[in-house]
């Protein structure tokens, strides 16, 4: 198993931390992982993306131009990365602020309305966990017990009290994921 993922959105949306939690969960499940951020002006706002690879074998390139999955959180990222999903691959996006929706017919496309759901629940912080839940419901590449361990590893100890709520947000994401284009 090798899953090559790009996560892209605005800086501050939790793009890097979502990737980190996924990577840590992979480590906990004894997988090979790599987490490669775009860095630079993105570190101080602007668009941000991270390539996460989870595999049973030693990972070759940590940077890629084609992905099994793209998790997309804003319009710029959708414009940039829709074409990079491998045919038959997966695109998950938050429809908030999206005016030009994805059009490809050769990939699986799902929506997770994470922004709306998070504000409905009154905590924007869990937005990225809702999105992650949506992804995991389609591709359960790591088991939920390892997600919990991954959260423990990647969150600073002072935030460990928030782990149950993070896990709950993941479950909510699994419930609200909505198919847009599903290949037969």
């Amino acid at each position: 198993m090798t899953e090559e993922i790009i996560i892209a959105g605005f800086g501050g949306q939790g793009v890097l931390s979502m990737g980190k939690i996924l990577a840590y969960s992979g480590v906990m499940q004894n997988k090979e992982v790599s987490w490669m951020p775009s860095y630079g002006p993105e570190m101080r706002g602007g668009t941000s993306n991270v390539t996460v690879i989870i595999s049973d074998e030693r990972i070759s390139s940590p940077t890629l131009n084609q992905y099994d999955t793209a998790i997309i959180l804003n319009q710029q990222s959708l414009d940039k990365f829709e074409s990079t999903v491998k045919p038959g691959g997966l695109l998950i996006y938050d429809p908030n602020g999206i005016t030009h929706h994805p059009t490809r017919k050769d990939i699986n496309i799902y929506q997770v309305a994470g922004t709306d759901k998070a504000s409905e629940l009154g905590n924007a912080k869990f937005f990225n966990m809702i999105i992650l839940g949506g992804f995991l419901s389609i591709k359960p590449i790591v088991n939920s017990e390892f997600i919990e361990k991954g959260l423990q590893k990647s969150l600073p100890e002072r935030h460990h009290g928030l782990i149950p709520e993070n896990l709950k947000a993941i479950e909510i994401g699994k419930e609200i994921v909505k198919p847009i284009n599903v290949l037969k």
């Binding site: 980190k20 990577a23 840590y24 480590v27 090979e32 992982v33 790599s34 987490w35 490669m36 951020p37 860095y39 630079g40 990972i59 070759s60 390139s61 940590p62 940077t63 890629l64 131009n65 084609q66 590893k153």
Partner: protein
């Protein structure tokens, strides 16, 4: 006992330094390697192993702090990225001239000038062909994995002390920023002052009546003496070239074509050869782990059975010159690279194989 951690390449450099018993780190922040100093400061190694960590006023000061520490027989290091390493060249040359061990880590970014903060491999010439003034060489290790960032700190010091010669870890923004699994060791104790005094008679440990005073210098005013110094250095470099070449071969047994690439380019190229082999192209990868000494012999041996070689680098074509020197007329050697901070994609490398060496 081994412990598994997920960390950035830059953090692995810092962690490797603390755990292998480095005595001192002196550095100055610059993207994309600032996590080295940040991680060191956060880890408080002065409480764990007694390691000294200091943020210097410049890269010029950093390398000269390393020079001062190295003169004491201490394991000392610095790290920076391209513009900062340019500033360090004077000190590196002095250390090579005074035959001091020490480690410089370069997490390379695109140049020239202030350039870009994105990854590059355009400091190859600077590292293996000189950089500073005079005839000298740097033992150069090129990590391609975060684990190697960690492991090569200890290896660099081992080689550096063995040959009394500064060493360089030549990395880049990709390997510095990527997070991967790393197996870390227990904390090794630092060398005691007594150990240093007994084992390194060249080191400044305080002049006791039983020995003449130690002088650490790279100055010889008489030309004949300075030529003798150079001849000694060249003899040492020859020994290093004979004994310390390191490289890794992947899918080379049946290869008709070969990619030579180091660091992150080797990772990208590995993906490329996987893709190429799906298309029936028999291509292998030779990854130099030491850039100096360069695996010329291994490449020359292989070249006799090949149809073509592609050197893949994030530069305008620097290492390709060493590959050509190694291969001679045996087989055509071409270069493929992106530069200025652009990372080539694996499929671009596959296209380059087809266009440049298969036609």
């Amino acid at each position: 006992m081994k412990e598994l951690k997920l960390m950035k390449g830059n953090e692995a450099i810092a962690e490797g330094a603390i755990r292998c018993g480095v005595d001192g780190y002196f550095g100055y922040p610059i993207t994309p390697q600032s996590e080295v100093l940040e991680h060191l400061m956060a880890e408080k190694p002065y409480e764990k192993t007694g390691m000294v960590v200091l943020q210097a006023e410049s890269e010029v000061a950093s390398i000269n702090m390393v020079y001062g520490g190295a003169a004491l027989g201490k394991k000392v290091m610095t790290s920076s990225s391209s513009p900062g390493v340019s500033l360090m060249q004077e000190g590196i040359s002095y250390m090579a001239g005074a035959e001091l061990p020490g480690l410089v880590v370069n997490v390379v970014r695109g140049g020239p000038g202030l350039g870009t903060i994105q990854p590059s491999q355009a400091d190859y010439f600077q590292t293996v062909k000189g950089g500073g003034h005079g005839d000298y060489r740097l033992i150069t290790l090129a990590p391609a994995f975060v684990q190697e960032m960690y492991d090569f700190v200890e290896l660099a010091f081992e080689l550096s002390f063995k040959y009394r010669n500064p060493a360089m870890i030549l990395s880049d923004g990709v390997i510095g920023q990527v997070m991967e699994k790393v197996e870390v060791d227990d904390y090794k104790p630092r060398w005691t002052n007594e150990y240093i005094r007994e084992n390194f008679p060249w080191a400044m440990t305080g002049k006791t009546p039983d020995r003449p005073h130690v002088i650490v210098t790279s100055l010889q005013l008489e030309a004949a003496k300075q030529e003798a110094v150079n001849l000694r250095l060249q003899a040492k470099y020859k020994v290093i070239e004979e004994n310390e070449v390191r490289y890794e071969k992947t899918m080379c047994d049946d290869a008709e074509y070969l990619i030579v690439a180091y660091g992150s380019s080797a990772r990208i190229s590995q993906k490329a050869i996987e893709l190429a082999r799906e298309q029936g192209i028999k291509v292998g990868l030779l990854r130099p782990i030491t850039l100096w000494p360069f695996p010329s012999k291994a490449i020359n041996e292989m070249s006799k059975n090949l149809k073509g070689i592609l050197s893949v680098e994030m530069s305008a074509g620097q290492m390709v010159e060493d590959v050509r020197l190694a291969v001679g007329d045996n087989v055509p050697v071409e270069h493929f690279g992106r530069f200025g901070g652009i990372i080539p994609s694996p499929s671009e490398v596959v296209e380059a194989i087809k266009e440049k060496i298969m036609k």
